[in-house]
C-alpha cells in the first residue's frame, strides 16, 4: 500500500491532494469523486497540522491511500495531540452569517464527502484516521 510521510505544513497540502487524486483516478473514480476525495484529504490533513500539531515544529504524519475493489481507503497517522471527534461541535448550517461558527466545518465536510470517517486515538501509537469512499 502506498505510504508517504508528509511534513506537517500547509505547503504540502497540494502534494497530499495530488497523491490521493492519482490513486483515485487509477482506481476508476470519476472527476466529482476525485474532487471529493481531495477535499476530504485536505480537510483531514489541515486538522492534523492546525490542531494535532499546533505549536509543534518539524512534525510529520503518514498518509496511505489504496483502492480495493470499488472502495478507496485513506489513512492518516500522526503523533500529535489526541483527537476525539465527539468533542467537535457540529456547525449549525441554518445559522445566519453573524451566528455561523467557523470551527468544525472540516470534519463536517469529511463526513459528508466520505462514506465512513473513523478516528482512533491511542497514547502509544498516536491518532489514526481511516476514511473510505466507494465509487459509483
Amino acid at each position: 500500500m502506498p505510504k508517504v510521510t508528509f511534513p506537517a505544513r500547509f505547503e504540502f497540502l497540494d502534494e497530499i491532494r495530488e497523491f490521493v487524486a492519482e490513486i483515485a483516478r487509477e482506481g476508476g473514480f470519476n472527476d466529482k469523486e476525485v474532487y471529493s476525495l481531495q477535499l476530504a484529504a485536505d480537510e483531514a490533513a489541515t486538522n492534523i497540522i492546525e490542531h494535532a500539531y499546533e505549536g509543534v515544529p518539524d512534525a510529520d504524519f503518514d498518509v496511505t491511500c489504496d483502492v480495493r475493489g470499488d472502495t478507496l481507503t485513506i489513512t492518516m497517522r500522526d503523533e500529535g495531540r489526541p483527537f476525539n471527534p465527539a468533542n467537535v461541535k457540529l456547525p449549525n448550517l441554518k445559522a445566519d452569517i453573524y451566528e455561523r461558527k467557523i470551527g468544525g466545518l472540516g470534519l463536517y465536510l469529511m463526513r459528508k464527502l466520505m462514506d465512513d470517517v473513523h478516528y482512533i486515538s491511542n497514547p502509544k501509537t498516536g491518532n489514526l484516521l481511516t476514511m473510505t469512499k466507494r465509487r459509483v
Binding site: 500547509f10 497540502l13 474532487y35 485536505d42 448550517l93 452569517i97 453573524y98 472540516g106
Partner: protein, 111 residues
C-alpha cells in the same frame, strides 16, 4: 493561487485563480480585507479561474461577508462559481449566504 483586485465605481472585483487551501487562503483573505480597509464593502469575487477551494477559503468568504454586511447595502457576491466548488459550498450550507452571478459584468452592475 493568484488574486487580483480591480476597482470599479461602486464595488471591487476580486479575481481569484488556481487553488485556495490553508496554505494560500491567508493571501486571499488579505485581498478581501484590503478592500474593506479602504472603505469598500461591495465586493464581487470572480471564481471562473478557480480550480479548488477548501473550507479555509470558505471561511475567508464568510468573514468578508460579515464585514461587508455591517455596512449599509454592503455585500459580497460570487461570480461564475465552478461546479465542483459550488457543490462543496452547498455541502457546507454556504450557498444561501451569497448571491451568485454568471458573469462579472452582471455582478458589478448589481451594485
Amino acid at each position: 493561487m493568484e488574486v487580483t483586485t480591480q476597482e470599479f465605481k461602486h464595488c471591487d472585483l476580486i479575481t481569484v485563480k488556481g487553488r485556495v487551501d490553508s496554505s494560500t487562503a491567508p493571501a486571499f483573505n488579505k485581498a478581501l480585507e484590503k478592500s474593506n480597509e479602504k472603505g469598500c464593502f461591495k465586493i464581487a469575487v470572480d471564481m471562473s479561474g478557480l480550480e479548488y477551494m477548501s473550507s479555509a477559503g470558505f471561511r475567508a468568504l464568510l468573514a468578508s461577508q460579515r464585514n461587508c454586511k455591517r455596512y449599509n447595502r454592503g455585500e459580497l457576491v460570487l461570480v461564475a462559481v465552478p461546479v465542483r466548488i459550488r457543490e462543496a459550498l452547498e455541502l457546507a450550507g454556504f450557498t444561501e449566504l451569497f448571491k451568485t452571478f454568471d458573469d462579472p459584468i452582471a455582478a458589478v452592475g448589481s451594485f
